[in-house]
């Protein structure tokens, strides 16, 4: 029985999933590696979610940090003040993120408003939220607010080890990938592709461009907001620096480098670049910590100039070639 391409894809996905599930068990004792792996997954989730607004809807969003922070503060505050489980807090965090996202997106996704304004506003949103929460001492303030410590509490989502967070993050990643895949092959996906190609033509064909962009934005903001809740529980505290401009840019870079619109692209970019960042940090020490951002920026520029489709298609080509060789045997 000859295996079709779809079969091979399925085998690959199952294999990757298997590796992902078993990996932390292999490094169980090494917290440092666990943190690294979880961080890679975290960026994978963020970048894959970003793909919905950046790759599918074609909007350069620079506000991932804003939604992450909002999710973190919502979840964290609800937990600290009223002992509400982060499982619920995550959902609410996602909704809060959507609220703020629409504040910026609604006026700027109107037909005819130049795309760049959204990019600028989203970049500004992060910075402004950071300052706001820094000043607003009731909820934020300059000092970290710590989440209650529990050695192992599923309700509070607090653990003494990173292992459970790894699996939760993995679950989020699978969710984000599925959402991406589902949207791409749905009507929304086609509409988004069309408006990305030519907004006027899409409009006259019945595409509500503003509505579609807002839908994509909502999905993205919700996913990132949810992840913010997990983020807070992972780190055990909340702080206005969560509203990080550099992190927002990083997420966008991962999305672009991975390949706009390609479902698996951002994850690959996350694995590559976050590992590289760790490598730099480990070898060059704290003094040159900012160097990784310089490297990221350089990579972004190079990709945008020479391989604007991103790394995704390259990997796909390699995969295709591998498949055809295997199929011959």
């Amino acid at each position: 029985m000859r295996r079709t391409r779809k079969d091979w894809n399925l085998i690959l996905i199952v294999a990757l999933l298997g590796v992902a599930v078993l990996l932390p068990l292999a490094v169980r004792s090494n917290q440092y590696t666990l943190v690294l792996l979880t961080t890679i997954l975290l960026y994978g989730v963020l970048a894959t979610a970003w793909n919905v607004i950046g790759g599918l809807a074609g909007q350069l969003d620079l506000a991932a940090g804003a939604y992450l922070g909002l999710g973190a503060f919502t979840t964290g505050t609800l937990l600290i003040r009223w002992n509400i489980s982060p499982w619920l807090g995550m959902i609410l965090g996602g909704l809060v993120a959507i609220g703020f996202a629409f504040l910026v997106g609604y006026p700027l996704f109107r037909f005819g408003v130049k795309e760049v304004w959204y990019a600028l506003s989203s970049a500004a949103l992060v910075e402004v939220l950071r300052v706001t929460f820094l000043i607003w001492s009731q909820v934020g303030g300059p000092v970290e607010r710590y989440l209650p410590y529990h050695e192992w509490s599923l309700y509070h989502l607090r653990f003494a080890t990173y292992m459970p967070f790894y699996y939760i993050m993995l679950g989020m990643l699978v969710l984000a990938l599925l959402v991406n895949h589902w949207i791409r092959h749905s009507r929304l996906g086609y509409y988004l592709m069309a408006l990305g190609e030519n907004e006027e033509a899409a409009e006259v064909l019945g595409v509500n461009t503003q509505g579609c962009k807002l839908q994509a934005l909502a999905v993205y903001a919700f996913l990132v907001g949810m992840t913010g809740g997990i983020y807070a529980c992972m780190y055990g505290f909340i702080h206005p620096n969560f509203f990080s401009g550099p992190m927002s840019t990083e997420v966008a870079i991962l999305g672009i480098v991975g390949g706009l619109g390609i479902t698996y692209g951002p994850v690959m970019a996350a694995i590559l670049l976050v590992s590289a960042r760790e490598f730099l940090r480990a070898n060059l020490g704290g003094q040159l910590e900012g160097l990784y951002l310089v490297v990221y920026a350089a990579v972004l520029i190079l990709i945008a100039l020479f391989r604007p489709q991103g790394l995704g298609p390259l990997v796909r080509q390699a995969y295709d070639r591998l498949l055809s060789r295997v199929a011959k045997e």
Partner: protein, 242 residues
């Protein structure tokens, strides 16, 4: 005489000090092939954009089957049954022909019915062989048909075409006219062609409106228009009427 399907009354559009459309009124009747012609800069495309919702008029109204669609967004107008193709093809460059047509078909259908609609439209527009080609790899004539196919997939009641005949050689032109004629006769789609290519206008249109400097200067059948001295003057200048 068939009932009017589109009524434009006293449409005015200004760009700063330039009056692109001045008190333009016209009527398109159900099932006919209507044409808007005029020399360059007459305001044909502006009128087009104002009907389809890409621009908002400064004064006047557009009524479609009795509903006021003045200034409504294009996607709502498409849902009501009007769509268009553009003079300069606004192609979905990186999408395949099939994917582009799907976008149109998704307006009214989902799933298997959507796919069936796509097949149907590709057949009518003779694009079956180009199904998997990317739009950016298409030549002008087939690309025009892709534009048409996309629009058709939304099942319009009224289809506006902006200079669809421009740049086509005689064979391609005849092919396009054929398709349009069939759409009008078999599918009963009302057509409004904004055109420069006289062959297409004279060969297809049942009624024509002539614009010049943003105003309607003549209205009638092809026969009446071609012998109208004001029209000749608009195109060829004073002194051309002999």
């Amino acid at each position: 005489m068939a009932a009017p399907i589109l009524q434009v009354s006293q449409l005015t559009k200004r760009f700063g000090n330039l009056v692109a459309l001045n008190d333009v009124s016209l009527e398109i009747r159900k099932g006919e092939i209507f044409s808007i012609i005029g020399p360059n800069g007459a305001g044909k495309t502006t009128l087009f954009f104002n009907i389809i919702g890409l621009q908002k008029p400064d004064a006047g109204r557009v009524l479609f089957n009795g509903t006021d669609i003045t200034g409504k967004p294009p996607h709502k107008i498409c849902s009501l049954g009007i769509t268009c193709t553009f003079q300069v093809p606004r192609a979905f460059a990186n999408m395949t022909v099939e994917e582009a047509v799907r976008v149109g078909a998704y307006r009214r259908y989902q799933g298997r019915e959507m796919l069936r609609k796509v097949d149907e439209v590709l057949q009518i527009c003779e694009l079956e062989e180009y199904r998997h080609q990317r739009c950016c790899d298409m030549g002008l004539a087939p690309l025009r048909r892709v534009e048409l196919a996309r629009a058709l997939a939304t099942e319009p009641v009224l289809l506006l075409l902006d200079e669809a005949g421009a740049g086509l050689n005689p064979t391609e032109l005849a092919g396009l006219m054929d398709i349009l004629r069939r759409l009008n006769e078999e599918k009963h789609i009302t057509l409004c062609i904004v055109e420069h290519v006289m062959q297409m206008v004279m060969g297809l249109a049942q009624r024509i409106v002539v614009l010049d400097y943003g105003e309607v200067i003549a209205e009638g059948t092809p026969q009446e228009i071609s012998t109208n001295p004001r029209v000749i003057e608009a195109y060829l200048g004073k002194g051309a009427v002999c």
